[in-house]
Amino acid sequence: MTNRRFRGWAASIAVLALMVGACSSGSSQSTKKAGAKAHEGVSVNVLTFTGPQIAEPLQRRAPEFQRLTGAKIKVVTVPFSDLYDKILTDMATRTNSYDAFVFDPQWMGDFVPPGYLEDIGSRVQGDQALKWDDIAPFFRDFSASYQGHTYTIPLDGDVEMVYYRSDLLKKDGIQPPATWDDYLSIAQRYNGKDLNGDGKGDYGSCIAKKRSAQSYWMFLAIAGSFLQTQGTSQGSFFDSATMKPLVNNPGFAAALDVYKRTTQYGPPGELNLDVGDTRGLFTSGRCALSMDWGDIGTLAIDPKTSTVQDKVGTVVLPGSRRVLDRGTGQLVDCNATTCPRAVDGVNHAPFAAFGGWSGAINASAKKDVKDAAFDFLAYMSAPGQSNVDVTLGKTGFNPYRVSQFENIDAWVKAGMSEAMAKNYLGAIRDSFQSPNMILDLRVPKSADYEGVVLDTGLAQFLAGELNTQQTMQQIESGWEKITNDQGRDKQKQSYAASLSVQR
């Protein structure tokens, strides 16, 4: 090649390079000018439990979020009983195939200490649209925080309540149940009667009792009023001074007795019913009473599935007139000393079971993925979305923001009568404002204490494999083993910390 030809080639290449460079910089500028989407090209895998509830709003709003931000949200679902180990295995083995999780905030006791979850405190403070202060204090301090740091964004508000057929009770002049004895007598009264006009006998009480599901929270909701009397910081699971389980005493035995007796007035296959089944039975008019989170309230107004629209009343969990005296270990009558929080001589202990589905981010995800995941969870929780979602039964989300309790119009718009909305929201608010509300267990291995040992013991008790005493002994020894394996002092500190949250 001659020198002249070489120079000619070099000049041509230089001109071409300049043109390409100019074009590319021009195109990048034009993209920016057009307002590039914040998370264009980012994909986020979100793991939660098999729907339809909880997964439904995430799946429904994911395309909306993609249109707004460009981030592709893939919602992966697994059965509830597999969710805990799926999350833990993914992070512990550093597989990290999921970037965000919508889970039970009780599990933070296992997920936070090893550093699996991202601290999102600064992100939360920097996001004005999230309206963090609108989230009720309990959810900010319990469901979202662990030992002073923020790890989750609440998406759901959870408290157990009792639902009753207001039309039946009103017609017969019966007051809603204030105690568990009232609950049993109402259940007995209506059991076997036709409650929905189809000519068939229906059931007095429908409570989810299926094993390896979400049933043990129903039992804990009964046990609470027998076990906790001195206020939230007393706790109902362990003696906070010794970490000795409160599962082998006359109070626990009384709760087991109530739990078993409700089965007499339930559907024949109640031991194999999950919450989805009991909700369906109640909203199809087949049950006089049920116990559940806030879901029945919103499912009952769905005209597609409910035959009990405007026939449903909600009350704070019934209580007990006899409670456990932890000093003597005996059941004693309620008085000013034994039940300082009692209402009309009845000790109520509303149970914030589970704590509400909450979203967290995998600390090992890439930064741009974490950004997109946070924005998605914040989008789901922002009032613009959540204030609608909590009024829809299919979402499984229940109210947790102050604005959701104050804005009755949104509920009326969703199909509730004003009276029912006030009754429903009032029961939730009264539960959260109760000075004796029970916080769910949130220590390392909570899933083992409740989901395996307690769940198995209760299932065996209901099936008649164990009597009351054997059930209590089995649960006690199982809990003691977990505590000893994990280290009693460590568990005790964790339990004390979980009871001291501000509300």
Partner: protein, 387 residues
């Protein structure tokens, strides 16, 4: 039988060839040794990695407790604690069940079983079994007696309750027996020249093609007396207030029916192949000699297909011990722990990442499967040897 002698003759010949080869290789150690090593080691490494390593890894896990650590997890060695918990600790009633005083039937079964074991031992002793062989038989008899004690004291007792070991054994024994008999019956029917054989051959195979979870859901719907597809039938017989899956034995029967429905086709297809490949001349000869249908089946057909029968039972036996999908989906192991198999027991522990306890249950299952399979094979070998 001639076939038996031929079978026993083969290893001797093979051993002779191997010895000859070894001698030749020994005379030229150098290059042959290197070549042999080079060819064998890759395969050996693959086997070690795929089979042996996981076996030892899970053994180690069964002797440890998983602890979450910063950024990952660690295993803390705790010795045989997980096994102690299963056999003597808080998990004992779950794993082994609750034993109670025997009923009259329980005593009869226990005494008859023990007598059978003693008779077997006495027969072996009289038959001139070596001391080592006798020692093995004694150990086997002891384990068999312990198993029999557990079975009778949990199943045939006043207030006893089977644990996951016994429930699994019941699933296996009842399931295999029913699947074999039904499979053999169906296969025999299809060799009788009835109309529509091709159609029924496909129909009988269908259950095996369905995913076990699908089968479990189907049976869950069928056993639902209040809203399942069979509701009118249950209502007609006044059973709408009854639930199969809230009574322990109702639930176990539901699981067994599902398992039998799904796996009978496997027995059926293998036994059908065996029946169809049977030598017709012997059957015709038996008939000419005046044998009726039952005699022909019992004395001609059955001995001819016996090797296939024993093999197919062994395969299903090993597979049946691992049952998990049906009880998990149908009843979640409930009511209580009534339908929980050993695999489901391990899975329940694994769900909360209690890998140590889970591995201990899985190892116990491996031990039981191996024991039963070895006992079955050695019984068969003896039977064939006798014939």
């Amino acid at each position: 039988m001639d076939a038996g002698r031929l079978t026993r003759g083969r290893p001797v010949a093979t051993r002779g060839v191997l010895e000859a080869r070894t001698t030749r290789a020994g005379s030229a150690l150098g290059p042959n040794f290197a070549v042999r090593t080079a060819f064998i080691w890759p395969a050996l490494l693959v086997i070690l990695f795929v089979s042996i390593f996981p076996l030892f890894a899970s053994l180690y896990i069964s002797l440890s407790r998983l602890e979450l650590a910063r950024g990952g997890f660690t295993f803390h060695f705790i010795g045989v604690e997980n096994f102690r918990e299963l056999l003597f600790g808080g998990e004992r009633t779950h794993f082994l069940g609750v034993s109670r005083p025997l009923t009259a039937l329980g005593w009869v079964v226990l005494v008859a079983g023990l007598a059978l074991l003693c008779w077997g031992l006495a027969r072996a002793w009289r038959g001139g079994v070596s001391l080592v062989g006798m020692a093995f038989r004694l150990v086997g008899a002891f384990i068999g007696a312990a198993g029999l004690w557990l079975l009778t004291h949990t199943l045939l007792s006043h207030g006893g309750r089977p644990g996951t070991v016994v429930v699994t054994l019941v699933y296996v024994a009842v399931g295999i027996a029913a699947q074999f008999l039904l499979g053999l019956g169906l296969a025999h029917l299809l060799t009788q020249g009835l109309p529509g054989q091709r159609f029924f051959r496909v129909v009988f195979l269908l259950p095996m093609m369905i995913t076990p979870v699908g089968v479990a859901y189907m049976f869950r719907m069928l056993t639902d007396t209040s809203k399942g597809p069979l509701e009118p039938l249950w209502a007609a017989v006044g059973l709408t207030d009854f639930s199969w899956v809230t009574s322990p034995w109702g639930a176990r029967v539901a699981v067994m029916i599902g398992d039998i429905w799904q796996w009978t086709p496997f027995m059926f297809i293998v036994l059908l192949a065996a029946l169809e490949s049977q030598d017709l001349e012997t059957v015709e000869a038996a008939m000419v000699d005046g044998a009726n249908r039952w005699q022909t089946f019992r004395h001609v057909t059955l001995p001819a297909i016996l090797p296939v029968c024993t093999t197919v039972i062994l395969i299903r036996l090993i597979e049946a011990f691992k049952i998990i999908d049906l009880p998990n989906v149908l009843t979640n192991g409930g009511p209580g722990t009534a339908t929980e198999s050993l695999s489901l027991h391990a899975y329940v522990r694994w769900r909360t990442l209690d890998l140590g306890q889970s591995a201990a249950v899985a190892y116990s299952l491996l031990f039981i499967v191996t024991l039963v399979a070895v006992a079955y094979v050695s019984l068969l070998r003896r039977r064939f040897a006798e014939e």
